[in-house]
């Protein structure tokens, strides 16, 4: 009696074990999207050291999702955001992206801010062939088939900026950055451009992340008298830097900061009068005069508060959701069913797509999954907004390996080395 039960049990166990793979296989195709909803991951740093900027990216993403849902969703399917907090930690990013892909079975994930976070996510999204949308400007030198890059790469920020600075202010540059990978790569590219256009580096210096005491740098500015302070100081530090610059009595009309990273966010925290006269190169400023931007800013402030500002990373966080929407719509309109909504099909559908972004019409480059953007040079005003002084006449192609050694280029089948 007892023995029989045991045997039965074993038999039953075997059956269910055998059934498991078939069950998985049959649900695999439809796991990403249901008939009425599409699950996406939203993975920004909501706590920890980068929460300050992370929150604005999260908010912009959620705003875009709300707008799409309020208009009936994507072809009748509501987007269901699965929100996770990456806690500003690359290790947490790796854990959470895994959870989003494997347990939540999201179709795609929007997230990230720092390059370190992207590097932590990259092996996971590649391993599970998922799709990740990254909105930040960054140093380039990367090209994953599983990441969509909607922020600027160095050629989109520096190619027009550096010659413009030399022409308008002079050729002596003081390179000042925070001590990590992004400023070093950008400065290396800046130095190459200075060489090309006859500029010169009078000093190159990196301060620790979170540094807030710039007295010795200011002394150096006084004694070296550079024409331009090429600035890639990030986060809280840049606020301290601008305040101490002004209270030291230095003059932006003679020696301006030329930044790749200072946005409306930092300017509103330091106070417009401290930023006034300095410059930033970016594809988007809150003052952009496009219908999409007026709508974006109004909706953002209505939802999150009239004192909130938008910036070049939050605007990319916003428009990349609409690029995703385009891809899904395209697939469904081509007669594909819900079962065909997989990360890779969506990626292929999105490549080459265009969307009206707050900065103008942008396009995902089919070669490298980066984005055609509209570089601008903005001069900060006392009211905390940037006045666009120079604007690219056409959109600029993203070149993630521009000025990097090795003649590498992105191709649809991966990174290739070109013969020079």
């Amino acid at each position: 009696m007892k023995r029989r039960t045991v045997l039965k049990g074993i038999a039953g166990g075997t059956v269910s074990l055998a059934a498991a793979p078939t069950l998985l296989a049959s649900t695999y195709g439809t796991a990403y999207a249901a008939e009425d909803e599409i699950k996406v991951g939203v993975l920004f740093p909501l706590s920890g050291t980068i929460a300050v900027i992370g929150r604005s990216l999260h908010n912009a993403t959620m705003l875009a999702i709300d707008e799409i849902n309020a208009n009936g969703g994507i072809s009748g399917k509501k987007i269901k955001p699965i929100v996770r907090d990456s806690q500003s930690s690359p290790a947490v990013y790796a854990d959470k992206i895994k959870e989003l892909i494997l347990q939540q079975k999201v179709l795609t994930t929007f997230g990230g801010y720092t390059s370190a976070s992207r590097k932590a996510v990259l092996p996971v999204v590649e391993k599970y062939n998922s799709l990740y949308w990254y909105p930040t400007l960054y140093e380039g030198d990367e090209c994953s088939k599983n990441i969509m890059y909607t922020g600027a790469v160095p050629n989109q920020q520096q190619e027009q900026f550096v010659p413009w600075l030399i022409k308008n202010f002079g050729k002596r540059f003081y390179l000042l950055g925070s001590n990590y990978i992004y400023p070093k790569d950008e400065n290396r590219i800046c130095k190459a451009l200075l060489k090309k256009y006859g500029g010169e580096v009078v000093a190159e210096e990196y301060v620790p992340l979170g540094h807030s005491e710039f007295s010795s740098n200011i002394n150096k500015m006084r004694s070296l008298r550079p024409d331009v302070i090429f600035c890639t100081v990030v986060g809280d530090s840049v606020i301290a830097l601008h305040r101490q610059y002004k209270t030291a009595g230095l003059d932006p009309s003679k020696m301006p900061f030329a930044s790749l990273t200072t946005s409306e966010e930092e300017v509103s925290a330091m106070g417009g009068e401290y930023a006034a006269g300095h410059f930033t190169s970016a594809p988007y400023f809150m003052s952009a005069d496009t219908p999409t931007n007026h709508k974006f800013v109004a909706a953002y402030q209505k939802k999150y508060g009239a004192d909130k500002v938008t910036n070049f990373v939050s605007s990319a966080s916003y428009f990349q959701v609409f690029l995703f929407q385009k891809g899904v719509e395209k697939l469904l309109s081509q007669g594909h069913g819900v079962g065909d909504l997989t990360p890779i099909n969506i990626r292929n559908a999105c490549l080459g797509e265009q969307v009206h972004a707050p900065q103008g019409v942008v396009k995902l480059d089919p070669k490298n999954q980066h984005t055609y953007l509209w570089p601008k040079i903005g001069q900060w005003q006392k009211d905390g907004q940037a006045k666009v002084i120079h604007e690219s006449k056409k959109w600029v192609e993203p070149k993630p390996y521009w000025m990097y050694p090795g003649n590498r280029v992105c191709t649809p089948s991966g990174v290739k080395t070109e013969k020079s």
């Binding site: 301060v207 979170g210 007295s215 010795s216 002394n219 606020i239 305040r243 009595g249 509103s268």
Partner: protein, 290 residues
């Protein structure tokens, strides 16, 4: 390299260090409590200044006494609810105050939002003066003055008043002091509140020239511990000298090489000092609770 301007900057950096470390020196130096929430008391001070400016339209100088009191109250609450149970367990205070630090940080994050806050500097303080050919901001001079004034006021409080005598008595030997009618609980609470108030005060003063965010405290607490450890636990003179030395090192090395190198060299120097002179440069006359 060793121009007057560089020396003046060093003085200015040192004065901020002194300001930030003073409250910690009171709490850590005289009570032996390793208060990891010190940076967050400073952060609370900066946020209080922001709040008073934004919603009560107070000028920076007018906010200072209010912020000091706010800091004292926060410190008092922390002391009464947590720290007072841990005076004989110094290692546990590290964990407990670290927890309080996270709590305060997240509370501000939820209450005031995570975006950076703007604290205004009065127009008349935002200019700069030229002293013997070297430029120095008016506000920097004000900070140097206030830091020195606070140091002197604190010395007077601890070495020239009845309250100070009681503090030193309680620190030397709580049982004997209580035997002579000193309420040691009250003395501890008041000292902790005073140190917290100083931290908040420092937060208000640095807010206009640095940045205000929930996580700002962490950068200050490291600096503050360096100053206290180098100067010698419990020695206000040591505090003054070590803030000056570290400030000048940061300014001179920062100017000659760069700030990252300056930080590295300062950390190395501090490690060497702790290795060969664990009691710090100046030995305190106050016996520590064992």
């Amino acid at each position: 390299m060793f121009s007057f301007g560089t020396l003046l900057s060093g003085l200015s950096i040192g004065s901020i260090l002194l300001l930030v470390a003073l409250g910690l020196a009171i709490i850590y130096g005289t009570m032996g409590v390793i208060n990891l929430a010190h940076g967050d008391f400073l952060m609370i001070g900066a946020y209080a200044t922001w709040y008073l400016q934004k919603y009560w339209h107070m000028g920076l100088i007018a906010t200072l006494p209010v912020v000091f009191i706010v800091g004292c109250i926060v410190g008092l609450v922390v002391e009464k609810t947590v720290v007072r149970y841990l005076y004989r367990r110094p290692l546990d205070t590290i964990l407990a105050t670290w927890g309080i630090s996270i709590l305060l940080e997240e509370a501000v994050n939820l209450g005031a939002g995570s975006n950076l806050k703007y604290v205004q500097l009065p127009g008349m303080l935002s200019g700069d003066w030229v002293l013997f050919g070297a430029h120095v901001g008016v506000y920097r001079i004000l900070i140097i003055g206030i830091a020195l004034a606070l140091l002197i006021a604190t010395s007077v409080l601890f070495f020239r008043t009845d309250f100070g005598l009681k503090v030193r008595a309680v620190v030397s030997n709580p049982e004997t002091a209580e035997g002579h009618g000193v309420n040691s609980g009250l003395i501890y609470a008041a000292t902790f509140a005073y140190g917290s108030g100083l931290a908040a005060f420092a937060g208000a003063l640095v807010a206009p020239i640095k940045s205000v965010s929930p996580t700002m405290g962490i950068h200050y607490i490291v600096d503050a511990f360096l100053v206290v450890v180098v100067g010698g636990v419990g020695s206000l003179l040591g505090l003054f000298v070590s803030a000056g030395i570290i400030g000048e090192m940061e300014s001179i090395i920062g100017f000659a090489i760069d700030d990252t190198t300056a930080k590295v060299i300062i950390f190395l120097a501090v490690i060497a000092i702790i290795r060969f002179r664990p009691q710090g440069l100046f030995v305190s006359k106050v016996r520590q609770p064992s």
